[in-house]
């Protein structure tokens, strides 16, 4: 249930976002959405064509938020290493998992080009954005010349996404933090580099 300052359509989208995050697409039913949104059956089908349509609206909003959150962390550092650190170390609700990455495990999301597109585009954008930052660091001599920006970017995003898996398996964020620290330690400029 949400406060009445939100329109019914807004509440439906927010409810869907919550449920997709927690239970995935397959595990989320229209009835559950309606209950969480405090909206009736008729209301939902008035505003949205059905479950896929509503899910698409929810996924689009979630991916937009993810981009904004990532972009915000990139402003937090001067050097490439600082900006990547800021991204990796930013506060996360680790045990809830990634609301975007989670969707990739859903067979019906993957099977639908429309539903998969925002997920794909967002993770792709993130990798390219990170690769650009790595390239800048490379240009500044911050990293070993053997570093390949696309590969480091993929490793950074994968460490985060995989960190969620380890954390949820163990019921503790420790493994997430350990993975991030491990990657950052490998990426750290050698002590003799200045």
């Amino acid at each position: 249930m949400y406060s009445t300052v939100m329109s019914t359509s807004e509440r439906l989208i927010e409810a869907t976002r919550e449920l997709l995050w927690e239970r995935g697409y397959v595990g989320t039913s229209p009835k559950a959405i309606q209950q969480q949104a405090g909206a009736g059956q008729g209301s939902m089908y008035h505003h949205f064509a059905g479950k896929p349509d509503l899910a698409l609206a929810a996924i689009r909003r979630t991916t937009e938020e993810m981009r904004a959150a990532a972009e915000a962390t990139f402003a937090d550092g001067r050097t490439a290493h600082e900006r990547i650190s800021a991204y990796l170390l930013r506060e996360r609700d680790v045990l809830r998992g990634c609301p975007v990455g989670r969707l990739t495990m859903d067979p019906e999301i993957i099977a639908s080009a429309e539903l998969r597109a925002p997920v794909d585009e967002t993770l792709d954008w993130l990798r390219h954005r990170l690769a650009g930052i790595v390239q800048e660091g490379l240009d500044q001599g911050e990293f070993a010349p053997s570093v390949v920006p696309d590969e480091i970017a993929a490793a950074v995003v994968a460490t985060v996404q995989g960190g969620y898996v380890l954390a949820r398996a163990s019921g503790s964020p420790d493994a997430f933090d350990a993975g991030v620290r491990g990657l950052l330690s490998l990426l750290a400029p050698p002590p003799n580099s200045h």
Copy 2:
């Protein structure tokens, strides 16, 4: 459908393993299992108490296989770096995702201590096993002294698990491979180390 050389109970377990991998726990119904196994309703409930019981048997077998597969790769190298490389570079059905890691995104698996336990124990075992290998490499002077075994182990497993996410999002194994190469490049002994 499976060949008749397998017992009904075996076919039920194998069918459940396939469906859990592809659709997760929430997305897998007893009826789907029965159809895939070529078994009737009564058969399933004769051999297993219900969906959770059958899932537990399937998960246990899948986690056992995962351990054996990982252990096999660790025999493939002499140095720590070689053994970690072998683990990371081993052939995988990347677009299908990890049959164990996938389960962590399932709310009903996480909510059940019994179902989560084998998943947790297996990923935990893998991290400890890798940490031991990193420690050996550290003892041999293979890695920088700043390397922390537990952290590198977590980063290795997370890169694999997250690589699956990136691959499935994009519909291509490329991002998985890139992440793995990125991590390995950072872990590579410096060229002047010999």
